[in-house]
């Protein structure tokens, strides 16, 4: 196994991780701030991808598609928050689970009703397509490099927003005590709608960016949703930093596990068994990672112990 291949796989893992971070950041933000387990987060990812595909298809512009994805997901998020979630803040967590589960059903089938049952087309724009050569002779798709860049930029922006701005401080204060921050004159409902829309927009952005290299189809949000949950739990719920580290860990584990586990097994068994058994173990790898992390650190890597 050559150095180039290993380096390329690490890049792939990073890129996957950065994309997961976009999903996970919104989820962890919403959970941290509102204590809400939002199963419908994956639906917002799907909304973003469909909006991007529809608009890019109609206008031929990928950038307009991205804008559409952000807008559509943010608007959908705001609507969900105002129409449903807001009525459930005082309710049991479990009611929120049921409500957001119901939202998944509505969104998935609603999308299929609106866009039909076949996958949509969304492609990489010309100016970002094709491979580039990196130092060391690695051929790497430009678009994936752009994804890494976009993800890191969002991560930095989000960190600044949460840690350095007054809104961020108020959001974190709301995390600690929602009633109290309202009693101090902060419009917490608006702040929540904003946070929800922001989280949704991040999911929508991820959906659109990933949609260009994947299949834009109904149900595309669910596998990512599970992964995003794994990420925020590994990182520690509510922690943006945790989500970032968790996302990279999961991205790398998933990518490298699928490739290197079968190779490792080939050392001890015949190639065909190695590839099936290796693939089975690899599909469990992130769950194994997560249970190990939680068994050692029951509140994730950067979770508060409360």
């Amino acid at each position: 196994m050559s150095f180039i291949l290993v380096a390329e796989q690490i890049l792939n893992g990073l890129q996957f991780g950065v994309m997961l971070f976009l999903m996970a950041a919104g989820l962890t933000l919403i959970f941290g701030v509102m204590g809400l387990i939002n199963l419908a987060h994956g639906s917002l990812y799907m909304v973003g991808a469909f909006a991007a595909a529809a608009v890019a298809g109609a206008t031929g512009s990928f950038l307009l598609g991205l804008v559409a994805a952000l807008t559509a997901a943010a608007v959908a998020g705001a609507i969900i928050e105002v129409a449903v979630i807001r009525r459930l803040y005082k309710a049991d967590h479990l009611d929120q689970v049921l409500a957001t589960f119901a939202l998944i059903l509505i969104f998935s089938e609603g999308t299929r009703w609106a866009f039909g049952s076949f996958p949509l087309f969304l492609d990489i724009p010309d100016w970002l397509s094709g491979p580039v050569s990196l130092p060391g002779g690695i051929q790497y798709p430009l678009y994936r490099l752009a994804l890494i860049g976009a993800g890191l930029a969002v991560a930095a922006g989000l960190w600044l927003l949460i840690e350095r701005t007054r809104i961020g401080i108020q959001i974190r204060a709301g995390e600690n005590d929602r009633e109290m921050i309202a009693a101090l004159g902060v419009d917490i409902s608006r702040l929540y709608t904003l946070v929800f829309a922001l989280g949704a927009a991040l999911a929508g952005l991820a959906g659109a960016l990933v949609g260009a290299i994947q299949s834009v189809q109904v149900g595309m949000g669910e596998p990512v949703l599970i992964l995003a949950f794994v990420v925020i739990v590994i990182g520690g719920i509510g922690s943006i930093k945790g989500a970032f580290v968790g996302a990279l860990l999961v991205g790398l584990t998933d990518t490298l596990g699928g490739i290197f586990l079968p190779e490792l097994l080939k050392l001890v068994t015949d190639p065909s068994t190695a590839s099936t058994v290796g693939a089975s173990v690899a599909s469990m790898a992130i769950y194994i990672l997560m249970s190990i992390v939680l068994i050692l650190r029951p509140t994730g890597l950067f979770g508060s112990t409360a």
Binding site: I37, L88, D92, L94, L98, T276, M284, I295
Partner: protein, 327 residues
């Protein structure tokens, strides 16, 4: 408002009356549907013990459901193909006898619940939800890759397993059997909830510190609840496999865990009859809405949403009006 006891009796009576009517009207499928309700309710009763009394929000109960299902599938498969089941140290032959299968399914899921519980109970809250989900997913992917027993295709058992004195192929017999098991489980739940153990578990959920201070060990209480819960859901899995005469990895999928949880919440968390009411409504909706339009799932979602928004405490809570703290 109907008193909860009366409501409970009505729900059970209804569940019994529908298949009896179907028998008279010669609608065997309605009996099958009722059996499905009973078995899903049984799985949810299992979860309700962990979730309702113990506050253990497990999103991995499909693991036990699947283990129960595969216990049935594997034993019956070996009996059907006249092959021996190699357990490493020794081999056993398969069986088509339900009591034996139930015993194995229950024991296997108890063992799994013990292990998963021991590891998972180090965490709490959302972390607990996710770690149980992780264990469920591990089983799921394991089953998909388990070529010996069909991998993702699963295993078909051509004939339903047997129970002494009954012809399980007759729908109403099998229904009666499942219904009896459900009644036992409901009775167990009711007794458990009122027992010293239930009281202690309930307190361990609400105020673990207090439980410790009076000499109780919350972790052990929760672990035991988790094991009992897993065992019941495992038994339901074995019955479900027998209902379908088929097992597959979907029994392990997180959708299933979610669905079991939805049944509990829909019916009313921690209420004895909640799972039954939830399962009955869910299966009925799934069945009747399906005929209306291709996009029926939108309506299913909308109805669930309306129930959460306007019926606090699930169906049983809404009808009985008895408030529970936290509703």
């Amino acid at each position: 408002m109907i008193p909860e006891r009366l409501l409970n009796a009505l729900i059970l009576a209804g569940l019994l009356a529908v298949p009896l009517w179907a028998l008279a009207a010669d609608e065997p499928f309605t009996i099958t549907l009722a059996t499905r309700v009973v078995i899903l309710a049984l799985a949810a009763v299992g979860l309700n013990i962990a979730l309702g009394i113990g506050g253990l929000v497990s999103l991995g109960h499909a693991a036990f459901f699947g283990i129960g299902g595969y216990a049935m599938g594997i034993l019956a498969h070996h009996a059907q193909t006249y092959t021996a089941l190699d357990l490493g140290l020794f081999t056993v032959s398969g069986t088509k006898s339900m009591p034996v299968i139930w015993l194995v399914a229950t024991l296997a899921s108890m063992l799994a619940a013990l292990l998963i519980g021991l590891l998972s109970l180090r965490t709490s809250g959302v972390y607990f939800i996710m770690i149980t989900l992780a264990f469920g997913q591990m089983f799921y992917y394991f089953a998909i890759g388990w070529a010996e027993y069909g991998g993702e295709d699963g295993l078909s058992i051509y004939l339903r397993n047997s129970f002494p004195g009954l012809n399980t192929l007759v729908p109403i017999h099998f229904f009666g059997l499942c219904f009896a098991v459900l009644c036992l489980a409901l009775f167990l739940h009711a007794r458990l909830a009122a027992s010293p153990f239930g009281l202690a578990l309930n307190a361990a959920r609400q105020v673990p510190g207090r439980a410790e201070a009076v000499g109780l060990d919350p972790k052990r209480l929760k672990l035991l609840a988790f094991v009992v819960s897993g065992a019941i859901t495992g038994l339901a899995g074995a019955l479900f496999a027998d209902l379908n005469r088929f097992v597959s990895p979907t029994m392990f999928s997180w959708h299933f865990s979610g669905e079991i949880m939805v049944l509990v919440i829909l019916g009313g968390t921690a209420r004895v009859m909640g799972p039954v009411a939830g399962a009955a409504l869910y299966v009925a909706l799934e069945h009747w809405l399906g005929g209306l339009t291709d996009y029926w799932i939108i309506f299913l979602g909308a109805i669930l949403l309306l129930i959460v928004l306007f019926a606090r405490g699930g169906i049983v809570g809404m009808l009985s009006g008895r408030r529970q703290a936290g509703d």
